[in-house]
């Protein structure tokens, strides 16, 4: 008979507290608790509320990793409270654990944040199937398993917001749709039944809000509790834009093409020429940065640009892997 040992250990919790109705500033409350190896983070939130302080507030519903309500930050890491086991968290971070809302500047009450911007962006990408539906169909609309795979699990998103509030671009650019909204847009763009044509995709191309403002930091992929990999979906939207000829010449799309050209030519990135290609004459504004980069050896003068070994193989690769026309 196998025995399963339940162990307990002492953990010090530092918990973000704030009530927008009465507090001028947020503060942190300390709680020390015996934590058993069977508990998930949500059990800790429940015990704080039920045993220690009834006014402690957080969102929860399903306790099953499916409603997306309980996402918070644990030692700065986006965490779906009902999914993560406390033992794993202690292994990662030790016995001092800080609990905070996903976004401190949007905090309303303790772990609860105002997710209005998240939902606005979600709505803005037309998160539904656009299709002329026959009200009295004679047979079902078949989707083959292969076509369903195209969604690439984007339909498993639970709208928890973890990726959105981990994204550095969301923090500085109010218009940016953000990783969850892009994953949602991709979910319908990849659906064979969707007939939106260019309606949804053009929105993805627009400056500031669209996919080109993503800085490809992969924070969203790291944060997602459902392994949706939003940045992967963003890359697919880039390709769709080129495929459908919607990627008109902008700084951003030229930047993408410039990457490819540079690799095809040198087998590596020529950052100086890349910026020139993307920005055209307005490159002049980057001269101070360029001089710094030059001094640090990050960029070289065009005639000094080295070539990668096996350049011919790289060029073959670029050719065979390029599906989109520029």
């Amino acid at each position: 008979m196998s025995t399963h040992n339940i162990n307990t250990q002492k953990v010090n919790f530092k918990v973000f507290r704030f009530n927008a109705d009465v507090d001028y500033l947020p503060y942190y409350e300390d709680y020390t608790m015996e934590v058993t190896s069977e508990e998930v983070v949500l059990d800790i939130l429940n015990r704080i509320k039920w045993d220690l302080d009834g006014s402690f507030s957080y969102r929860r519903s399903c306790r099953h990793g499916i409603c997306g309500a309980c996402a918070i930050k644990l030692n700065g890491r986006a965490t779906l409270a009902c999914k993560e086991n406390m033992n794993d968290m202690i292994k990662l971070f030790g016995n001092d654990i800080t609990l905070e809302p996903l976004s401190i500047k949007r905090a309303v009450k303790d772990m609860i944040i105002d997710k209005a911007d998240f939902w606005q962006k979600h709505d803005a990408v037309k998160p539904y199937l656009i299709s002329d539906i026959d009200e009295y169909p004679e047979h079902e609309h078949l989707v083959s398993p292969k076509q369903a795979e195209e969604l690439d699990d984007a339909d498993l998103c639970i709208q928890c917001g973890a990726c959105h509030y981990a994204c550095p671009v969301v923090e500085i650019n109010d218009e940016f749709f953000g990783p969850a909204a892009f994953a949602k847009a991709y979910r319908f763009e990849a659906d064979v039944r969707d007939e939106a044509g260019t309606e949804r995709l053009t929105e993805m191309h627009k400056e500031a809000q669209g996919v080109w403002d993503c800085v490809k930091c992969f924070e969203c992929a790291e944060a997602c509790p459902k392994d949706i990999n939003p940045i992967g979906k963003i890359t697919k939207l880039h390709l769709m834009l080129f495929d459908k000829g919607l990627a008109t010449s902008t700084v951003a799309s030229r930047h993408a093409v410039g990457f490819k050209n540079s690799i095809a030519k040198h087998g590596m990135l020529d950052e100086g020429t890349l910026v020139l290609y993307s920005e055209g004459p307005s490159i002049i504004k980057h001269i101070p940065v360029a001089l710094q980069m030059f001094r640090k050896g990050k960029i070289v003068l065009p005639w000094n640009m080295p070539k990668s070994d096996n350049l011919d193989e790289i060029q073959k690769l670029v050719k065979s892997s390029s599906t989109a026309k520029f």
Binding site: N19, D21, W50
Partner: protein
């Protein structure tokens, strides 16, 4: 079927109803007793699991109803810490608990009166189904004092014929 649902007459909410709901909230927010909702809820959950689960007897159900009545009284003596009007989930849990008490009383009183076993209502002191006396729906009504009155409604059998369950 659908047409039957359409024909259900709904009572129009009155100002009185709104006042009652507001009074319930005011009571929970302002009452200054020494019981916690969490503590009472734990007691109710334990009691209902032990005495009013699928397997129950007249005796266990009497224990349950006594406990529910006791908790009803003690509920008058609660205090919650969170007084704010913003995302007050402690208030929400207290309102929910008040309703849990009412529904527990409905469940237990109906079960006490149904002296037979049927589906997930398994009376260990009345193990067989008794169609002669209990082939009927229980209707339960609560008055202002919290007392429950039971009434019964005939079952429309439709296509189903009555026969003993032998599986």
């Amino acid at each position: 079927m659908v047409s039957e649902i359409d024909n259900i007459e709904l009572r129009v909410a009155t100002k009185e109803d709104a006042k009652n709901a507001q009074a319930e909230i005011d009571f929970i927010l302002n009452n200054n007793g020494d019981e916690t909702v969490t503590g009472l809820r734990d007691e109710l959950q334990q009691c209902m699991t032990d005495n009013a689960g699928a397997f129950r007897t007249g005796e266990s159900l009497e224990i349950a109803i006594a406990k529910v009545k006791e908790l009803h009284k003690r509920f008058k003596n609660i205090r919650i810490k969170d007084k704010s009007k913003l995302f007050n989930t402690e208030l929400q849990e207290a309102i929910e608990f008040g309703h849990m008490l009412d529904y527990s009383a409905f469940i237990v009183e109906s079960a006490i009166a149904r002296k037979e076993s049927r589906g997930a209502h398994y009376r260990e002191d009345f193990e067989s189904r008794d169609d002669e006396n209990f082939l009927k729906h229980t209707m339960a009504y609560m008055d202002d004092k919290g007392d429950i009155r039971l009434d019964y409604m005939a079952v429309k059998l439709g296509k189903h014929e009555l026969k003993p369950r032998t599986y």
